[in-house]
């Protein structure tokens, strides 16, 4: 059978079952069963599929995923994160759009403690949104920053998705974790500038209010008590990688224990919130890892039938400029991101993309950061944007999906601008790992 039929059958059945509403993991399994029957020798191919599912997660490079998620959940459920946001709140003076700026600064801070975008958005939404609405903030300036900055959690280490991407696309995970820091900070900075300008032009969307008169020390003290110590967690995670003491997995384990120690030191660690954290972590990491069990065979069947190799040789022989190929790949990711989750996006595209990227000779770490940026954007693109749902869940009941989406769109455009910037100046991603590796 011609390779394009194989590709069409596999991708077609996968998308059909996904859009029918079958859980993504079963859509993968269904496509694999059909693919194994047709292209891997029938029943013995299906038996191989089962073995693949069993060995898929017995993979050392996936170990940081549950640990990074656990870190975020502990910080969220023990209330340590909420108190840190509160301290940031005291620090920022009386400016237009104050709470939105608190969301951006606090969300970026929390991103360096949490490997889970969901925990990040849920925490910001539940701590800041009620206050914003009480103060008369319009949805357009309240929800947008929370969703936008929620996605930054997957760019700044710890990041479960960066680990997954590195492992599937065979990009050095330490480099990928370090390379995403600077682009994430640029992104956060532009969000901050946007909110400031927007509220300055139209103060009515975020009415300023008097904050209780506090001395300089009263404002700075909570920051020193509730935020600064948290930075030691970031130091443990990133520092242990940079100093060459730990692999990403070990840094994740050390970071988790650091989170527990800090939560205990604040006397916030309770049996019930610890259990809640573990439960949420099992839920999200099992969901992620089980998709890997289902999807690993998918890329293998594509390779076994020769479809991956043929597709990449067609692309490479097409005489398209490498930049167009790159833009095409990112555009496809962006479109997939409109109706698909990040894990499925990685699992479908990377086996097809990476051979081409390597052939063109692009830097894989840079490409990995671009991929992460596009996925960060797709967390907030309708109709399927995970963070849109999380934010809507955390917002007051009368908030409509339309309000959520319109509030997020400007931030999506800013993020696209940053992607363009990174394509134009690759050095922005590569400088941090290069500095550290030399």
């Amino acid at each position: 059978m011609e390779w394009y039929y194989v590709l069409a059958i596999l991708v077609g059945t996968l998308l059909f079952f996904m859009l029918l509403g079958l859980p993504v993991v079963f859509a993968f399994f269904a496509a694999n069963i059909i693919g194994a029957m047709l292209f891997m020798g029938g029943e013995k191919g299906v038996a191989q599929l089962i073995r693949n599912a069993v060995v898929a997660t017995q993979n050392f490079s996936l170990l940081p995923i549950p640990l990074f998620i656990l870190m975020g959940e502990i910080m969220f459920h023990t209330g340590v994160a909420a108190r840190a946001i509160d301290a940031v709140d005291k620090l920022i003076a009386r400016v237009p759009g104050r709470l939105s700026l608190v969301a951006i600064v606090g969300g970026t801070l929390f991103s360096s403690l949490s490997g889970s975008t969901i925990a990040n958005t849920a925490m910001l939404g539940s701590t800041l949104l009620p206050e914003m609405y009480k103060r008369g903030y319009k949805p357009e300036i309240a929800i947008g920053p929370i969703v936008a900055v929620g996605g930054i959690a997957m760019l700044i280490p710890p990041s479960a998705l960066a680990v997954l991407l590195g492992s599937v696309a065979r990009i050095p995970i330490s480099d990928l974790l370090l390379a995403s820091i600077l682009p994430a900070l640029i992104l956060a900075f532009l969000f901050y500038v946007y909110v400031t300008i927007r509220c300055w032009l139209n103060p009515s969307i975020a009415p300023s209010y008097d904050i209780a008169g506090m001395t300089w020390w009263q404002r700075i003290k909570p920051f020193l008590i509730y935020v600064l110590p948290l930075m030691s967690i970031f130091l443990v995670v990133v520092g242990s990688i940079v100093a060459g003491i730990a692999t990403p997995t070990e840094s994740a384990a050390l970071g988790t224990v650091a989170c527990l120690i800090i939560a205990a030191a604040y006397r916030s660690l309770r049996w019930h919130n610890f259990i809640t954290s573990v439960r949420q972590t099992v839920r999200f990491s099992v969901m992620t890892l089980f998709i890997i069990c289902g999807s690993i065979t998918f890329s293998q069947i594509l390779a076994f039938s020769g479809a991956s190799a043929e597709l990449s040789s067609v692309i490479l022989n097409s005489e398209l400029a490498p930049l167009f190929i790159l833009l095409g790949m990112l555009a496809i990711l962006m479109i997939l991101g409109c109706f698909m989750d990040q894990v499925s996006m990685i699992m479908i595209t990377m086996p097809l993309y990476m051979p081409v990227i390597e052939q063109i000779g692009y830097n894989v770490v840079w490409f990995g950061v671009l991929t992460l940026m596009v996925m960060e954007i797709s967390l907030a693109t309708p109709p399927f944007g995970l963070l849109l749902f999380v934010a809507k869940g955390a917002a007051p009941a009368d908030t409509t999906m339309r309000q959520v989406i319109t509030s997020v769109l400007p931030f999506v455009f800013i993020a696209m601008l940053v992607v363009a910037l990174l394509i134009a100046i690759p050095q922005l991603t590569l400088i941090v790992p290069e500095l550290i590796n030399n």
Partner: protein
Amino acid sequence: MSDNSPIPKRLKWIDSLIDGLAAIAGIILCALTLLLCFDAVGRTIVRFAGDAGWGYTIPWTLDVAEYALYLMTFFGAPWVLREGGHIAIDLLVERLAPVPRRWVSVATDIIGALVCAALFYYSCQVWWTSFDEQVLIHETFVFPEWTLLSVAPATFLMMTIIMLCRAHRPLINSIRNRLKTGL
């Protein structure tokens, strides 16, 4: 643990079993974290103070951590399914009118049940082959491969049951409603 479990009340023990396995998954997660941390700290001590005979490294960390990740995933998967935690793309289905939407969801649940049943069947076959051939795993520990493989059939069987219960509930309700309205 769950109020909207699709599993009927008289099969409550299945619910408890699923909860129990999820609890084991949680315990595995905690143990895994401690193990990796203990190893990282112990090794760092060895590196800086190894000459003094301090520190300790665990040679089997990597192997056991990999098994733990697998076991956590397969023990937790049925619970995540019951809780509706396996991500699905329902944006097209959501746009349908209530009645066709219900039937599409019954159809996907039946497809899901079929997929799980097939996975259950083939995982039993794989398990039996490995058991019959006495295949061993030669890692830090040498042990029969079927021990690891035996988790998969249990997971897929439980998922088949959950999917069937999910399909069954709206089906029964719909028939009841039709009977009530005299149809």
